[in-house]
């Protein structure tokens, strides 16, 4: 199985404090990889390294390699803007722009000039919203403010916005932690469908969610990857006792 993203010996420092210690992890193409672990273990920091969202954090220092299709994204020749059009991101709290639903989805294609004319843009917007499972619900109110949608709808809108620039990888940072169970179920369903086209990395606190949506799971603990394996295997037969403790709820 080829890795879409291959992380090799990644270390991350916030000033003097080291948050990741020589972490290596391969993310298989067109699969969902879940990153689990207790709070502050470095899983979100790790995720943010994959599209260089950490770049704007002051006093940050990164060592090691992150290979996207074999090319190091931290190489000097790489343009962050281009990288982020290949690696999209969904955040913990839904963060739609305070504009219309249409404008939200159209924003990415607009700044990257991904379309020739208005009807092509309309098509991108419709496909993205359809793929995010939102089209049927909002097709009559495309030009209403996105902030009027419910939390779950906003998060799916954010997913539509991310896939409108046709990325190859989607990073999700606890995408359903601010949502109710029904909205969460919809997001999970969506993740399963998106796997056909996109490589997905999801950080989650919800172990059942990790078990439901992912094929591969990595367990982080204080800046190290303790155990990584096929999701089913890791949850049923954890090899490390820290993993076992975490998934059985002895600590969290």
């Amino acid at each position: 199985m080829p890795f879409k993203i291959d992380v090799k010996n990644l270390s991350l420092f916030y000033g003097d404090k080291q948050a990741l210690f020589k972490v290596s992890l391969g993310l298989p193409k067109l699969q969902t990889t879940a990153l689990i672990g207790p709070s502050g273990c470095g899983k979100s920091s790790f995720l943010r390294c994959l599209n260089r969202m950490n770049d704007s954090v002051p006093n940050i220092h990164i060592d090691g390699k992150v290979l996207l299709d074999g090319k190091d994204i931290y190489a000097p020749s790489v343009d962050v803007v281009e990288l982020r059009s290949h690696v999209g991101m969904i955040f913990q709290k839904p963060n739609p722009f305070p504009r219309s639903i249409y404008e939200n989805v159209a924003y990415g294609p607009r700044i990257h000039k991904l379309f020739k004319n208005k009807s092509a843009l309309d098509e991108i917007v419709q496909t993205s919203l359809t793929r995010a499972g939102l089209w049927e619900e909002i097709k009559d109110r495309l030009h209403q403010p996105a902030t009027r949608l419910s939390g779950g709808q906003q998060q799916r809108l954010c997913i539509a916005r991310a896939i409108a620039v046709s990325p190859e990888v989607i990073l999700m940072d606890e995408p359903s932690s601010a949502l109710d169970p029904i909205a969460t179920a919809k997001i999970e369903e969506l993740i399963d469908e998106l796997r056909e086209k996109f490589t997905i990395v999801i950080v989650t606190h919800n172990l059942q969610q990790a078990a439901r949506v992912s094929q591969k799971t990595a367990f982080f603990h204080s800046g190290h990857i303790v155990e990584v394996g096929e999701t089913g295997e890791l949850f049923t037969m954890p090899k490390d006792e820290r993993t076992q403790g975490y998934i059985t709820g002895r600590y969290g």
Partner: protein, 356 residues
């Protein structure tokens, strides 16, 4: 427990009553001041006119010839006649002159009319023909210069400091000093304007250009501080969303951060312009205190502004200037209220558009 509870409730009531009382007191003071200004100032919008035979060149001085026949015109009465007719103030009028006025009254040859000249004339030594047009126009020209200097410089500095500046010691020092500058007494900015623009650059002395530049310097720190505060209030999640889609830093700034911060920025600018409009001290420092009887026709002409004109009038001995002073204050207050309501309207409009 019950006893202390009653005590606690009483204390709560007492505190609320105290707050209400202080509010009433403040409103009372405010009401008194406004009432006094309005009562004194409204007569400035009316003038006494006399039906008299007047030679056109001499119409400013009508009490010289109160003819009761021949070709007659309504002419503006002198300050003393005006004061006597409006307020029964005898002033320096002789008994004969008083008799003449009573005679005019008996013949219906004296009346009160709307004083349009108060708005359209410029300053004069004669209170009955003095108007605020020169000061109003001067204030407008000065404010234009103030806006053109303070707006781009203030926004630019604020955006750079908030979004792009490295966080090092020099930048912290600059930030602290800008915050301090906002609290510097305005007369010091007058001194700065005097040295920088008049002595060093040699701009013409009491001009709208120098006044506007000086007030611009004065408004700059306030604009920087309010703009930075509104930029900082934009949620980081919004920037993250745009960055995550691959927007360049400038695109993040212009597409998301500035639109979201706009209500605060605009309010800050309008409020600091309103403050500049009412400012007197720094303009006295750069020589705008001069008596100027012709309205300015360019930014380099000798100019006076409304607050300075009020200040000058308040020091004039003629009785007529008392009501003129209050009348001019009313106009100034009206312009300030207008500016503030524009600020509120803009804020409301953008807030509903960018509700987060």
């Amino acid at each position: 427990m019950k006893k202390t509870l009653r005590k606690r409730h009483r204390r709560e009531k007492y505190f609320k009553g105290l707050g209400f009382a202080s509010l009433c007191l403040a409103l009372l003071f405010l009401g008194t001041i406004f009432g006094k200004i309005i009562i004194t100032g409204v007569p400035a919008f009316f003038k006494t006119e006399v039906l008299a035979k007047a030679v056109p060149s001499d119409f400013l001085n009508p009490h010289a010839q109160y003819a009761f026949d021949g070709e007659k015109k309504w002419v503006t009465a002198s300050d003393e006649v005006n004061m006597y007719y409006k307020n029964d103030e005898t002033g320096n009028l002789t008994p004969e002159q008083l008799k003449t006025i009573q005679l005019l009254e008996a013949h219906d040859q004296i009346r009160l009319a709307f004083n349009g000249a108060f708005l359209t004339h410029s300053d004069s030594r004669e209170p009955e023909v003095a108007g605020i047009w020169g000061g109003l126009l001067g204030s407008l020209l000065t404010l234009i210069v103030t806006f053109l200097t303070a707006f781009p410089l203030g926004i630019g500095a604020a955006v750079y400091l908030e979004e792009f500046a490295p966080k090092n010691r020099l930048v912290h020092l600059i930030e602290a000093n800008i915050n301090n500058l906002a609290a510097v007494p305005s007369i010091l900015f007058g001194l700065l304007g005097l040295v920088a623009f008049i002595h060093f650059m040699g701009f013409p002395r009491p001009s709208a250009l120098v006044g506007g530049l000086t007030l611009g310097l004065m408004s700059l720190p306030v604009i920087v501080v309010t703009t930075r505060a509104s930029l900082a209030a934009v949620p980081y999640a919004l920037k993250e969303a745009a960055m995550g889609l691959g927007a360049m830093p400038l695109q993040v700034l212009f597409h998301h951060v500035i639109p979201a911060a706009l209500p605060g920025i605009v309010t800050g600018i309008i409020l600091s312009l309103a403050r500049a409009l009412g400012e007197t001290a720094p303009l006295l420092m750069i020589g705008m205190v001069a008596f100027i009887a012709t309205p300015p026709s360019s930014f380099l002409d000798p100019t006076t502004v409304l607050p300075v004109q009020i200040f000058n009038w308040s020091r004039s001995p003629e009785m007529g200037f008392v009501e003129n002073t209050s009348g001019a204050i009313l106009v100034l207050l009206f312009v300030l209220v207008l500016l503030n309501s524009i600020a509120i309207t803009i804020r409301k409009k953008f807030e509903s558009q960018y509700a987060l």
